[in-house]
Amino acid sequence: MGSAKPGGKILILAEDACAYPGADATGQGHMSYPADTYILRVKASVLFPEHFYLDCFDKGIAGIIIMSCGAETPYPGAYDALARRIDRVYALMKERGLDIRRLRLTAICTVCTRAFLKEVQQMHDLVSPLGPPGSERPAAA
């Protein structure tokens, strides 16, 4: 599939209880996806403050996919708190002229291999033409 070069790197925050095993299941099925993706295993994405995402973009990460457990998180209330935080991150991204599509909040289950592939491919397809963060025009948001 895609190459790691054109669009920049995609960071995936994959929650340990759902999306990370989902990514493993994708691998177990030998289902290929773009290699510009770097999965970080996290207990819950609610851990990351707003500045973490902005810092990632500053460092050159082209896209971030938060693969949460959604409403089925083992930490009751975590998803709602996360969703509210991501809204705030979107506002900050707009202020900086970053295309908010670079950050995506999704829910991926332990067997959601198709959804995993779709999310990765969509982000890859987005960041490839978009280029590194900051290269878009402010109006893009």
Binding site: P21, D24, R41, A44, G60
Partner: protein
Amino acid sequence: MVKKKKSLASPEPTPGGKVGVYVCHCGGNISDAVDVEQVCAQARRVPGVVVARDNMFMCSDPGQEMIIEDLKSGLVERVVVASCSPSLHETTFRNALVRAGGNPYVYEHANLREQVSWVHHGPEATAKATRLVAAAAAKAAQLKPLDPIRVEVRPRALVIGGGMAGLKAALELAERGQAVVLVEKSPFLGGQVAQLQELAPGGETAAAVIGELAGAVLQHPAITVYTCAQVEGFEGYIGNFKLKITRTSPESAEYSEKLERLSQSGCGPGEYVPFVGLMPAAIPESREEIDLEAGVIILATGMRPYQPRQGEYGYKDFPEVVTLPEFIRALAAAPAAGDTLVLHGRHIRGAALIHCVGSRQIPGIHEENPGGYLNEYCSRTCCAAILHAANLIKERHPQTKFFDFYRDIRTYGRGQEELYTRAAANQVLFFRFEAGEEPQILQNPDAKGSPLLVRVKDVLTFGEELEVPVDLVVLAVGQEPNNISDLVEKMKIPVGADRFLQEVHPKLRPVELSVAGILLAGTCQAPFGVGEACAAAGAAAVKAAAILSRGYVELDPFVAEVDLSKCTGTGACVEACLADGALAMVEMEVGGQKVQRARVNPVMCLGCGACVAVCPENAINIQGWTLKQFESMVDMIVSDEYLEQA
């Protein structure tokens, strides 16, 4: 109650360094796609890495010995293994660190098989593997030894629910020498199984299985049973749950029919009554309160059959339309022999069976239930149950015809496919319908014929519209979880989108909830057959017994930790905390002044990190998963420095 275990690490690793990287070929699974030698070569250039080695199978004894020797010699103090998924071998390698006399938590895992070599090929696979290893090394360099959280355990289990799963769990625990308290909301034991007669697919009677199980529970000296009992107060954590149980006389109408049936049966306490269950003790005359301490809790709160809306398949519009549980109850009063089944004095010449009622509901196609939800799941037991009933009747009353209307037949388990085959041999006639084109139940205009008509667009005859006159329609209703919102709220336990309780992991930790010490048994988790519910109950009981018999538990130390040198006492973390009692502001003396600072109760902390994100000073972190560690991982993912020098 909570003790810090003696540190496993000695001596303390050097801050920020001496990382050993061990890359596995996985017998070619990794090295066929990833240039392992190149990964090692580049890993050696990552700051903090002192050695990078490879092995055909790192999980093999020689592979692990390689790590152990490097640790023992003092060459390395922190370890990164780059191999298959951590779900397979993270524990293996942590244990290797312990065998080397080290701390198991100065370990990080890089997933090069499931997330690299099995999904990428060529140079990009090696490049990605290198960055993931570098990221893992960057995290490992910052890891510090952690001590497991040791919690003493109260030597008692509480089982909530007196159906099959609850009874089975209680008995299994008691037979392992554990004290058990079983709490049942209703006056009866036996749960929904007591509403059945013969159980599919084997044909055992509900009376026999409940009688045997409940009898053994009631006779066991280690089990205390409270019926008419509910959990009103809950606090604590694994090993030390404190509960307030109240026993009250049930509301007048709630169980009046069952109590009436019990009274008519002439049976006394401890005797099984069909469609009632087994009442072990008299109903309390006044409110009783029981304070209880337990080390573990098993939830066996069960399910209820789906109750169709009025008009759904003609339910309650036509008296001849009944649910399967209602049909089973009517059968019990029917003559056991005769060419034709007779129900309530009516000869049943033809009966329609309709599958997937209240199950596999599709958004946009099916009407939402009164609570505004759809049951999108398959209830898994209804196909077998209704075909079992059809076979039973057909073999007793050969002149009664059965017409089976299904979307899919899901007789999935052992002995169940035989039910389907037997139904076909018994000349049950099958019709298949599509979702959204469910059979319609109409009044038969032919007053001399059967009272109802079932109209269906039959997939098996390529969409032909058929009308079948019948005397009875039986709806194979699915399973829904009992409403335990009060327990969910009190215990802060996760509920899935399907409203069943949500286990930590469906395969790897199938009877555990994310709240440590609370386990799942039976149909509160998902639709199960009786056998499956008992298997789950057995698993939960063994898990609970293991905790109780050890006398203490050691929890992973991945919980929040406050850095008092940074904490300014904003209280934001306490406000953001998702677990009651995990974080609190307490008064303490800092620099000679009394100040408010955050304090973590490590046993109550879920380790989610909701507190981490809101601290303006980053004074609180999850041990082993700190924000700085993640930031360093990102740094290594974006950095090209170590690549350029390779």
